[in-house]
């Protein structure tokens, strides 16, 4: 049998083209499979969004009541997945993993995963973590620290690990909040403990612990993935240290941060820089990684992310400086513009635009440009406190807060 030149080329191309970092995506462009999207950077690669929305807002596909939790909505294979919480009285209830039909918002299955986490400060009850999904499973972390793998088909539980019982990790004041990460067939999680219990990796198929490393404490931050110098790595910010490990748990580099306890995720700036921000006098910094050594290239108080993570685009960082939407230069940290009025909102990006959700549920479309703040469109999309960042898939934005979820057509 003769193999044509074209076929050979196609095979070679297939072999040498960069493999997706995550093997989760069914359709990489049109899915949102983990916290802050497939690349964990808050950016969708989709293009051609509407520049201007009608006065009453973009087309509403559906809006549904949903229970209390902060988990983002994940979208894959025409389904929406998340965690929600339902209280039976003021002090009791349950957290559920749940799957909806992406076209209608109708429930497909619902699986109880744990007792509901009740927030003592009244910020909001239920899960804090956003699950991760791959071809077969959904991996959820409850507010009380139960890590569960469920079948995507019907929500059936496959395995579970309890961070409190199995690893002796105390429940953080505001609940377990980190979001699991899938990298190179390994499920990775910040465990947040001492005695080599800071970070752990599990076999996604059976939940078997593959490795655990470092000493830390439970944070409210989630890891990201990056490919630097051809090396896949996961990057954790824990307390005042930035850690990098490969999927085998081998430390690649660490960096003593000039800030402590960031909640917003680090931001990977291709090809080899990391941006980290927290509310502190330092505010933010960027390091450059060369041969597994970190060198600080920027340090500025101009951006202080609280829990809402920033996005990087064409040399600039867009994010919430506490409660002011801001654009700063990734080169020197200088502020380019600032816009108040969205409270402690959140943002993602698509088609060179910022999709901003204010902390009171107003959705705003903003040009991702350092020249000036330009609001293209805005409307009230949800009611009430909205601390969960939007998700984007197939031309639609998916929003949720502690009481509602909604899907709007943006294309």
């Amino acid at each position: 049998m003769k193999i044509s030149l074209i076929t050979t080329l196609l095979i070679v191309l297939f072999l040498i083209l960069p493999r997706p970092l995550i093997w989760a995506q069914h359709d990489d462009l049109h899915s949102w499979t983990q916290f802050r999207g497939n690349e964990r950077n808050g950016i969708s690669a989709e293009r051609d969004l509407l520049d201007i929305w009608p006065e009453q807002g973009p087309e509403l596909i559906w809006k549904k009541e949903i229970g209390t939790s902060f988990s983002e909505l994940l979208i894959s294979d025409k389904r929406v997945y998340t965690i929600t919480g339902e209280k039976v009285d003021s002090a009791r209830g349950y957290e559920y993993a749940i799957a909806f039909d992406a076209a209608t918002g109708n429930k497909i299955w619902k699986t109880k995963i744990d007792s509901i986490f009740i927030d003592i400060d009244g910020w909001g009850d239920g899960a804090r973590s956003t699950p991760a999904i791959n071809d077969d499973h959904m991996y959820c972390l409850s507010g009380f620290g139960k890590l569960k793998a469920l079948s995507l088909i019907d929500g059936k539980e496959i395995w579970q690990v309890d961070l409190v019982i199995d690893f002796g990790i105390p429940v953080p004041r505001w609940g377990f909040s980190t979001s699991p990460l899938i990298m190179e067939d390994v499920l990775i999680l910040e465990l947040g403990g001492k005695d080599e219990n800071a970070f752990g990796a599990f076999n996604p198929q059976d939940g078997k612990l593959l490795w655990k490393v470092a000493n830390g404490q439970p944070s409210y931050c989630s890891p990201i993935i990056a490919n630097i110098d051809g090396q896949e790595q996961m990057i954790f910010a824990n307390d005042n240290t930035l850690f990098s490990f490969n999927s085998k748990g081998e430390s690649l580099w660490t960096y003593s941060m000039p800030i402590r306890r960031p909640t917003a995720t680090p931001v990977f700036i291709e090809p080899n820089k990391i941006f980290v921000s927290a509310v502190s006098a330092t505010g933010c910094f960027i390091i450059e990684i060369k041969e597994n050594k970190a060198l600080e290239t920027m340090n500025n108080s101009s951006m202080q992310n609280h829990w809402s993570s920033s996005c990087y685009h064409n040399g600039y960082i867009y994010g919430f400086n506490v409660a002011a939407l801001q654009c700063i230069s990734a080169l020197d940290g200088n502020k380019k513009w600032t816009k108040r009025g969205y409270g402690k909102g959140s943002l993602i990006m698509a088609d060179d635009k910022l999709i901003v959700l204010s902390d009171k549920g107003k959705m705003v479309l903003v040009e991702a440009s350092p020249e000036a703040f330009v609001e293209l469109s805005s409307f009230q999309a949800l009611n009430g406190k909205s601390w969960t960042a939007p998700s984007f898939s197939n031309g639609k934005v998916y929003l949720r807060n502690l009481t509602q979820m909604a899907c709007y057509q943006l294309k």
């Binding site: 009244g122 910020w123 509310v279 609280h306 409660a323 513009w337 108040r340 009025g341 409270g343 909205s386």
Partner: protein, 394 residues
């Protein structure tokens, strides 16, 4: 001679520059006052009521405040899930803030008083800063967030310093950096003013956003009313319902002291006076001197412990240099304290002399305090002393 001329010229130039800047600051403040409707118009307002929305922790709820000259302030609002009440009389204030795990009003500290004083101002502090002993210095002109601003440094008479950024075009305030407070801790804050509207001849910001640390607080004004009635009583700190029940103790008292004889009869040992007064919202203090063979001086402190839901009485005996702690509550119209279940965290220190204080026959004019002892940890009690309090009317 030439040197003297150069020095004189330099002094003259520096002086001219100084007076020029001073003059500019005055001019800017005058224009600022005019932009707000003028000092005269503001002086015609004696009280000011603001209704609107307050956002804290991303939760928007109703907000009201009333200000009255010279520097009264009273406000009710919600911060997240808890209601907050705060008040200021120009010198001191009080706050009821459940976030601090204190479920009764308490006096405000210096940092809080400074924040309350800022809140009590009808507009900006540039209307009467001289009368209040403050000084203003023009720091220059800057561009903040794309807005050209004059930067004024305001030094208050008590040392607090604020930096104000006035829009160079409108002369209205754009931003202020001022000392603030976060759950009783002093912090630095930035406040931004927006949505200026004219109402009854004056101009006010209807959107005020303050950031400090990771906090963000927004006031959005719905309605303003001038020259409404203001009840000064609102600035009097209320007591918790529990401490209010102890108010019968407050006052000046004539006290007859009796002890129990071995034959089982009360006999008088002294007559004295006592004054019991609230020294704080959760503390009633009494100092009483009397003779029972020796001169005795006792300090009695009454408070309410919201964790144990019990009253506490701490008695300091000057003569014996002893401190005893009692816990109690009202029962059948009597207020009864004992030390049978007090733990000092060290078994060796537990008192073997169990004592009971009982306040009975309580009226507005008198009450009786009986002190009893027990050697069986409160199973049986023996009379020891009796104090009959009769109110002294000034």
């Amino acid at each position: 001679m030439k040197k003297i001329k150069i020095i004189s010229l330099t002094v003259l130039l520096v002086s001219a520059l100084f007076f020029s800047i001073a003059q500019n600051a005055e001019e800017i403040i005058t224009k600022h006052q005019n932009a707000h409707g003028g000092a005269e118009k503001w002086e015609s307002f004696q009280t000011m009521k603001i209704s609107g929305k307050f956002t804290g922790f991303s939760i928007e709820k109703d907000f009201i405040c009333i200000k009255a000259r010279p520097a009264y302030y009273y406000s009710e609002y919600y911060l997240g899930k808890y209601p907050i009440t705060e008040s200021f009389n120009g010198v001191s204030g009080w706050i009821l803030d459940y976030w601090q795990d204190i479920d009764f009003p308490r006096h405000t500290n210096k940092a809080e008083n400074n924040a309350l004083r800022q809140k009590s101002e009808f507009c900006t502090p540039f209307f009467n800063y001289k009368e209040l002993g403050s000084s203003v210095e023009l720091m220059g002109k800057e561009n903040v967030d794309g807005v050209d601003v004059y930067v004024l440094k305001l030094s208050r008479a008590d040392g607090f310093i604020e930096t104000w950024f006035l829009n160079a075009e409108t002369y209205l305030e754009y931003k202020c950096e001022s000392p603030w407070v976060d759950f009783a801790y002093p912090v630095k804050s930035e406040v931004y003013f927006d949505d200026f509207r004219r109402f009854q001849g004056v101009v006010l910001p209807y959107y005020i956003e303050r950031s400090f640390g990771s906090r963000n607080r927004i006031i959005e004004i719905d309605e303003i009313e001038f020259n409404v009635n203001f009840d000064e009583g609102k600035t009097q700190m209320p007591r918790s319902p529990e401490m209010e029940k102890l108010a019968f103790l407050e006052g000046k008292w004539a006290v007859n002291v009796e002890t129990m004889s071995r034959r089982g009869n009360w006999y008088a040992v002294d007559s004295t006076n006592s004054k019991i007064a609230f020294s704080s919202t959760n503390l009633l203090e009494e100092k009483i001197s009397y003779e029972r063979m020796f001169p005795m001086v006792n300090s009695n402190n009454y408070s309410y412990n919201s964790n144990t839901k019990k009253y506490r009485l701490a008695v300091y005996h000057e003569f014996m240099s002893g401190l005893e702690l009692f816990e109690g509550d009202f029962k059948d119209g009597k207020l009864v304290f004992d030390n049978c279940h007090i733990s000092y965290g060290n078994e060796a220190e537990i008192s073997q002399a169990f004592i009971q204080y009982t306040f009975s026959k309580i009226t507005s004019e008198s009450f009786i305090l009986e002190i009893k002892g027990s050697t069986d940890k409160g199973i049986t009690w023996t009379d020891q002393e009796k104090f009959t309090y009769t109110r002294i009317v000034d």
